[in-house]
Amino acid sequence: MYAIIVGAGKVGRNLARELMSKGHEVTLLESSRQCYLAIEEEFEHAAQYGDATELWVLERAGIQRADLVIAVTGDDEDNILVCQVAKEKYLCDRVIARVNNPRNHDHFRLLGIQPAVSATDLILRLIEHEVPRYGLVHLLALEEERLEIIELEVSADAPTVGLRVADIALPEGSLIISVLRDGTGFVPKPDTVIEAGDEVLLVLDPGLEDAITAYFSPNGQPAAL
């Protein structure tokens, strides 16, 4: 695979190293002369100096044959435009953009830049995961496919405690895909019995969270530890 990475900050450099060590071809583009000189020694011909929002810089980097463009500069407008041009002008179908200010996330979505990764959002998700205050954790949202994967801790007063998976009439558009119990996870069979303290992973259509929470954690609180 050939990947163009725009922005040679910490994120860009580490992504480049990682992809190269997996045998992929990488070009790392950097628009600051000073930063470029600092990475040139390590990355040699894989590093190029230039402003990737300019078309000729992308063309010099071989955008026409790129399989993937990753825009991870510290500037959201730059990241949006690099991805937009890569997608729409050079027909590169896989782009990944970094969102620096989470409030700009909507702009990425509006202009069709997906996936857009925001460190703040990721850390918030991790915090939710570590501190399951609301009982429900979003593990993954597949926005284009309109699916989500969530994790819920089963509380002692949940109506599903003691029921077999086959007997739980979940709303249309949701499915239990995994149960975590005593530190190990398994894929439930129809006769698996749900216990208080289990963590259940479900895949569901967006918008079903509240309905699902009522089945496993009616008060929105995790089971007493």
Partner: protein
Amino acid sequence: MFVLIVGAGRVGSAVAKSALAAGHEVSVLDEDPLSHERLDAGQDKSWEDSGGQFTVGTALEMDALIQAGIERADVFIASTAGDNTNLVIAQIAQKRFDVEKTIVRVMDPARASWYGEQGLHTISPTKHAIEMFERALELEPERV
């Protein structure tokens, strides 16, 4: 007509003053409060007394755009110092707020052409400068 101009530099402020003088309703958004001085320069009355509106805020912030009146703008002009900012906010004006006429300043001639083909009304001062130099020197135009 209600004209919203983002970026009150030399170009933005001059266009704002002409539009106001022509009887249009004009709102200007700029992140630098001092840019207001450019709107007052050379005028008898202050910008506000002449009927102009001025908002301090960053162009990419929805709140600032809404405060500046983007929801009822008939014309949106993106004339900040950054091409990338201009191109992004112009597309937001067009796609999110359905502003009828969106005009963007893009210094880079290559992208001005391409985004022009995508339906944005782009103006590239660089392209005009090149053409004028070429004409002054009686050269064949260079293909950008």
